[in-house]
Symmetry: C2
Subunit: 317 residues, 2 copies
């Protein structure tokens, strides 16, 4: 198949924020990523759920065109995460993590999956990420994410993995911890030295930073008057980013990467406007592009010669 | 005269950051503002210093073309502030504030000063800001800033002042405190309802937000690998912003205001790269414009038709 392969978690999340709460709602890194990326390109999801995984969740993913033939059902319960957010939406306090069937997750890719050109190794054990990557035939683009837990417990495995990764996504504090640097730019320089040609540092409600060929590009967030639930924003960002690139078939051009950053921001903004996957499960490319153009207008700085044209028009009107 | 009148503090700052320290260095809101704005337009400074104010500081301001005829010397000591910053450069811990001669600051504008078209009421007692404004003949643009101290002690005076202000600058936490809202966008909506047609919310190392005609524009910060001293960044931002507008003589056009935001960000980025006024005292418009264009490139999202051109060029090359 053409498109994107994502390997990661499919979970049931219980979340409390200043705006409300949700209980055992559809979540997980591969879920958020898939629902965002499928708006741009075909997506195949590899993951595992338990016998208690609601049929309607699988049906939803199917109905959105996501290939869930790689979403296995194992005896036991589905991975569950519960957390809460205070005023600062970028900091989640984990209340409980039950890995359940996810504990024994050992993805085996089939022949079709091994030939997908773009692979996203969502946040799982970095040794598992490497195992999955080793099964891929010759991907055109390898992207990965990680999290604090693995940075603390398996930093060397992450560094080893990164030597084979083209685009690495991580949060600001994770980048600083992984690279042992006090600033996201310094951290991205160190991380890039380990392999990735593109390092994307997500700053939550403060936007995101991208390092390409030693140069930093910086993007504000789409402005929102309230954030209902930030869960999954990072994976939705990666889904919009990689989905856009996959739809273009261009992976190394700065202009395409800049547009991918804006698409990532737009997808993340839709995600945080409601709990769980509620807002992104009904997105289509038209609604995305409408907000994309709105976003670009809100952050664009007109050139001086464009100004003169405007003034001339005003004066002559 | 043409240009900008600024009324605010001229101070001697003692600052400690993670990158070093400075002692009794030139500071104050009117100082930072003036050194930024004078790169764009003539600036007249109204303030007060004590008998201990070093002659070389006054000479520096003069040498940079700033009209310091309104900088009075009063018996007593110059306003002194001392503070320190931790890892989070956006939060200053005040160690000591000695108002000294600034305590009795009652600015009286002369005839020339009263006719300046653009006035910036830097962070001083809001009742004093109103007194200064009442002395102005018919300014084309009135801008003001404030700080936590006045928001806590004289919120009603600030609200009253804002009914006569066109552009209001404040920090994110100050906006939220003044408007009693948990989000900068909601806060800016409330503040705009009190009068200002433009509300600029500065988010420190996370960029800035602008509200014009109910619409929000959002800008990332210029990316820096280290911040030496954030003191004065907000006033330098306002200096670049208003200096640019004054140089154009256009105060209500969104495209000009967007460029003003980018100039503000660029001036603030120069300021935080060194202690006190060291880095901004030697700026000129060429260096500013060089970074401005660099900044715009780092944050711009190419249009789809621009991409196609690039691809065509790549293919045909």
């Amino acid at each position: 198949m053409n498109g994107i392969l994502v390997v990661g978690s499919v979970a049931l999340d219980t979340v409390k924020t200043t705006e409300g709460s949700s209980c055992d709602a559809l979540g997980g890194s591969a879920t958020f990523f898939s629902l965002a990326a499928r708006c741009f390109a075909p997506v195949a999801l590899v993951g595992v759920v338990g016998l208690d995984f609601p049929a309607e969740h699988r049906a939803l993913l199917c109905a959105r065109g996501i290939d869930v033939s790689g979403l296995k059902t194992a005896p036991g319960k589905t991975f569950r995460w519960s957390g809460k957010y205070g005023k600062d939406a970028s900091v989640a306090e984990t209340l409980a993590t039950h890995l359940n069937v996810f504990k024994d997750f050992r993805p085996k890719l089939d022949e079709t999956q091994r030939e997908v050109p773009v692979v996203f190794l969502a946040n799982i054990d970095p040794e598992l990420q490497a195992e999955v990557l080793a099964q891929m035939k010759s991907p055109a683009l390898v992207a990965a994410d990680t999290m604090n837990f693995w940075i603390g417990s398996k930093p060397d495995a992450i560094k080893k993995l990164l030597s084979k990764v083209d685009i690495f996504f991580c949060n600001e504090d994770e980048a600083e911890a992984l690279a042992d640097r006090p600033n996201p730019l310094q951290a991205a320089d160190v991380i890039a030295s380990w392999g990735p040609s593109v390092v994307v540092v997500k700053k939550g409600e403060h936007g995101a930073l991208m390092r390409v060929a030693s140069r930093f590009y910086i993007f504000p967030p789409f402005p929102l008057a309230s954030i209902k639930d930030p869960t999954g924003a990072g994976d939705t960002f990666a889904g919009g980013f990689l989905g856009y690139l996959a739809s273009c078939g261009v992976y190394d051009d700065v202009d395409h990467l800049k547009r991918a950053m804006a698409y990532g921001s737009v997808l993340a903004s839709f995600n945080v406007e409601d709990f769980s996957t509620r807002n992104i499960e009904n997105l289509d490319r038209d609604r995305i592009d409408e907000r994309f153009h709105d976003f670009v207008d809100r952050m664009s700085v007109p050139r001086a010669d464009e100004l003169l044209k405007t003034r001339a028009r005003t004066v002559s009107a």
